[in-house]
Amino acid sequence: MWFEDVLIGTKRDLGSYTLPQDEIMTFARKYDPQPFHVDLEAAARSMYGGIIASGWHTAALWMKCLVESGRGDAAPDGIVSPGFEAMRWHKPVRAGMSLTFSTEVIDKVELKSRGDLGLVKRRNEARDDTGALVFSFIGKSFVPRKP
């Protein structure tokens, strides 16, 4: 996929993932060991009333679904991104919740500094079983331009 072929407004479903409690706790013990992610009793006493997933775990699962759906619009050697904006964890993610991930192209920017690349911005989301928004951010990725 070339930058020129990316169409603003294109939205893609990236599939779903149901997160088991042991995966929530394994990720959190490594990367985000706050009590409401790793300690059942402390989590029950917290404002969340039970174990919730690290927000960074949710973000990583969005990436997993993007890559495994094969819909990254990637260059053969992978997607390269300078970063993201406006990430929000709208609702806590709990064990057993099924998250459905999506990506939508919202903007394209030609780069003056790199004639061979363009920057594509996407609104990326996760929604729960009821369709409620759980997670969103604006992702940015470099996409090669036609030679």
């Binding site: 973000a59 990436m63 050697d77 992978g78 970063g83 929000r88």
Partner: protein, 149 residues
């Protein structure tokens, strides 16, 4: 629990410095296999063909490593109750096997919460440096901290 940092203990301009996080090839590949199985995060030769210039950690992995440093250095010593997201994150330099990362944090703003009367938001600017003193990641993230008694 009075030794924990509460909302009132944070103020604009306050800085913290933590580290360090030693990055291994095994961990880069393990994270990538689970969450971001792209060639530049799994294979050095494939990485050389991208602008990353060699095997490099997934940006999401760098965010996770940053979170671990933030937890160990600050959040586990604070009356924290989670985050709401990240305003802006920039992956500035590839993170490679053998890198040793450290984190500098500055409080940008503190603000009482309307919806959570016993808590407030503390907006943090996080800068991750590698052992060459290059900035590898910039992230601005608001956390929620409980107010003291």
């Amino acid at each position: 629990m009075s030794d924990l940092l509460h909302f009132e203990d944070f103020h604009e301009g306050q800085t913290f410095s933590f580290g360090c996080y030693e990055v291994t090839q095994e961990e880069i590949i393990e994270f990538a296999r689970e969450f971001d199985a792209q060639p530049q995060h799994l294979d050095d030769d494939a990485g050389r063909r991208t602008i990353l210039g060699g095997l490099a950690a997934s940006g999401w992995h760098v965010c996770a490593m940053t979170m671990r440093m933030l937890c160990d250095g600050l959040l586990l010593k604070a009356a924290g109750c989670g985050g709401v997201g990240a305003d802006e994150c920039r992956w500035m330099k590839p993170v490679r096997p053998g890198d040793v990362l450290r984190l500098e944090v500055e409080v940008l703003e503190t603000r009482r919460s309307k919806s959570l009367p016993d808590a407030g938001f503390v907006r943090l600017s996080c800068r991750v440096f590698n052992q060459r003193e290059q900035v590898a990641l910039l992230n601005t993230t608001p956390i929620i901290a409980r107010r003291g008694a």
